[in-house]
């Protein structure tokens, strides 16, 4: 992250436009060693810890994707489980035709993105809440069509067998690195995307679509890009879930529960920021681990917290942590410095 200071005016003494903040420069210095340490974890800690972290990284990936859709694209989707399911089944198909399931991860992202194009054509005819349920219907169609295929186990699902060639410890480490890479790629990718020209357009669309349109932002095209990228990310997450659990079961992989998780993480963490969903994912993961023994009550608690956050703390935990002082570790906007 270099200092991208550009002069705002030809007058050298005038204010300058900066794209970094002090916090972001500090974050950039800290980020690299942290990621390096995380990458080295399989050599340092027991496999059950890295196994847990695979779950956390998958949640970070999912939350980041849902935030891209809702927080930046203004699209509330309740159907991302459709792409999660497609991603998981891409791993199964790769396994069936004898391709290494880890290569299935790439296949999953690409497959979900390709499927997102015709899906966008249909669901973009709906707006607001009806868009939300429309994506849900499409996800149901994916599920119902998937269970008609006997080759991938029909209604009961199938196991990923191709990974048995790896010794368990190595398999765990590779899955961990894939998950870490995917989470870093997602957060970094969304950061770069939002700093680009497209990101500026998206921010305008989120704030006021009609005004953005009249200023020449290609609203539909921008939204389509977001929808396809989010689908690819969710497909990748589904594939990670498949290679981690080694089993794909249609009712659980296509469950609307995933959408609930994504919404809770993003709303509790802070919608429309890049840091918020990551914080939300960590908090959600902690609550899930702590309250899991008490059955699904944790979802009731999270639902109540999410409702409260949507009503009174719209900037979520990130807003509360930074006392609404607009602290950005990953700033996307342009700031004026006198």
């Amino acid at each position: 992250m270099t200092d991208t200071t550009t002069p705002a005016a030809t007058d050298a003494t005038g204010p300058v436009v900066v794209r970094t903040t002090r916090a972001s420069r500090a974050a950039a210095v800290v980020a690299l060693p942290v990621v390096a340490l995380l990458a080295a974890l399989p050599y340092l800690v027991a496999p059950n810890i890295t196994r847990l972290l695979v779950g956390l990284f998958t949640l970070v990936l999912l939350a980041t994707m849902w935030n891209l859709l809702a927080g930046y694209g203004g699209m509330i989707s309740v159907g991302q489980q459709g792409f999660i399911g497609i991603g998981a089944y891409a791993v199964l198909v790769a396994d069936l035709i004898g391709v290494n399931p880890y290569l299935g991860l790439a296949l999953a992202a690409v497959g979900a993105a390709v499927l997102a194009l015709p899906t966008a054509l249909l669901v973009f005819r709906l707006h607001g809440g009806y868009f939300a349920i429309g994506t849900w219907v499409v996800a149901e169609v994916y599920r119902l069509v998937t269970v008609e295929f006997r080759a991938v186990g029909g209604g009961s699902g199938a196991s990923v067998t191709g990974l048995s060639v790896f010794p368990p410890v190595l398999r765990g480490a590779i899955t961990y690195w894939c998950a870490l890479g995917a989470a870093v790629l997602a957060v970094g990718g969304v950061y770069l995307l939002m700093r680009s020209r497209l990101g500026l357009g998206l921010t305008a669309i989120r704030d006021e679509p009609t005004a953005a349109d009249s200023l020449g932002v290609r609203v539909r095209a921008a939204k389509r890009v977001v929808f396809v990228v989010a689908a690819a990310g969710c497909g990748l997450a589904g594939a990670l879930i498949a290679v981690d659990s080694l089993r794909v079961q249609p009712d659980s992989i296509y469950s609307v529960q995933w959408s609930a998780f994504m919404i809770f993480m993003v709303v509790i963490g802070g919608l429309g920021t890049i840091e918020g969903p990551v914080v939300g994912a960590v908090v959600f993961f902690a609550i899930q681990q702590l309250l899991e023994p008490y059955g699904v009550w944790y979802l009731v608690v999270l639902g109540v917290v999410a409702i409260a956050a949507a009503l009174v703390a719209r900037r979520g935990l990130w807003g509360l942590l930074t006392l609404d002082r607009d602290v950005r570790l990953l700033p996307t906007g342009y700031r004026l410095r006198p």
Partner: protein, 289 residues
Amino acid sequence: MTWVNAVVQGLLLGGVYALFACGLSLVFGVLRIVNLAHGDLTVLAAFLALVATSTLGLNPVLALVVVVPVMAALGFALQRLLLHRSLRAGELAPLLVTFGLSIVLQNALLQTFSADTRSLPAGDFGTAGLELGGGIAVGWLGLSTLVVAVAVLAGLQLVLARTPIGRAMRATSDDPETAALMGLDDRRVYAVATAIALATVALAGVFYGMRGTFTPTLGPQLLIFAFEAVIIGGLGSLWGTLLGGLVLGVAQTVGAQIQPTYGVLAGHLVFLVVLAARPSGLLRREEVR
């Protein structure tokens, strides 16, 4: 003859869907909120009726006397406590709040009543029917559901067209600020609309519970069916909602006739075809400007 039967049964099934859909349609029409907890509220009504039948020993139809007012009161409270605030908290807030409510209701029901499959005991009313000859029988329950659906939609239409509160709802729906300037209390209008919507939800929940089985996690499925009926028929048209419900019901039974697992899928596909070919629905009310 089996095909004719499938269509007849589909029309009866469509009555249930139309009944599901009119509450969703009303809340969207007046408050401009898509209530993502609609299906779970329907399931809640069915469970309330279950409790009423088992503790008070009431017939499910009589249980309506209890369930409908309770759900209407719940609707009033829901609007006052949650939805009205969410309307002021930005464009996305109503969706986030109703989805949160959906998850809360679903999981609270799951913890309270377990995942067991339930049904409301309808007795002879649920099984007896009218023989039309040629192997086609029309169940009394299905027929009365369809009649109730038509009656509810006609009643709503009348209320909206002819009564002061209906006029207030239309005015608030068209332009809340101007309506408020004219002295309408939008909080009250919204709360009454939500109460009426949840009363229809109570009817839908009880009739569905007598007709088949339900579980705490059925809500999302019901929401999707209600939504499909609304979109197939056309947003903003109550008769369109009835038509949408009937089309969806027929699509499902005919699909299931081809192969049992195709029923729900056929309904979804008809919905997607309508969305692709006629996105404003079959009976879109013409906008008069």
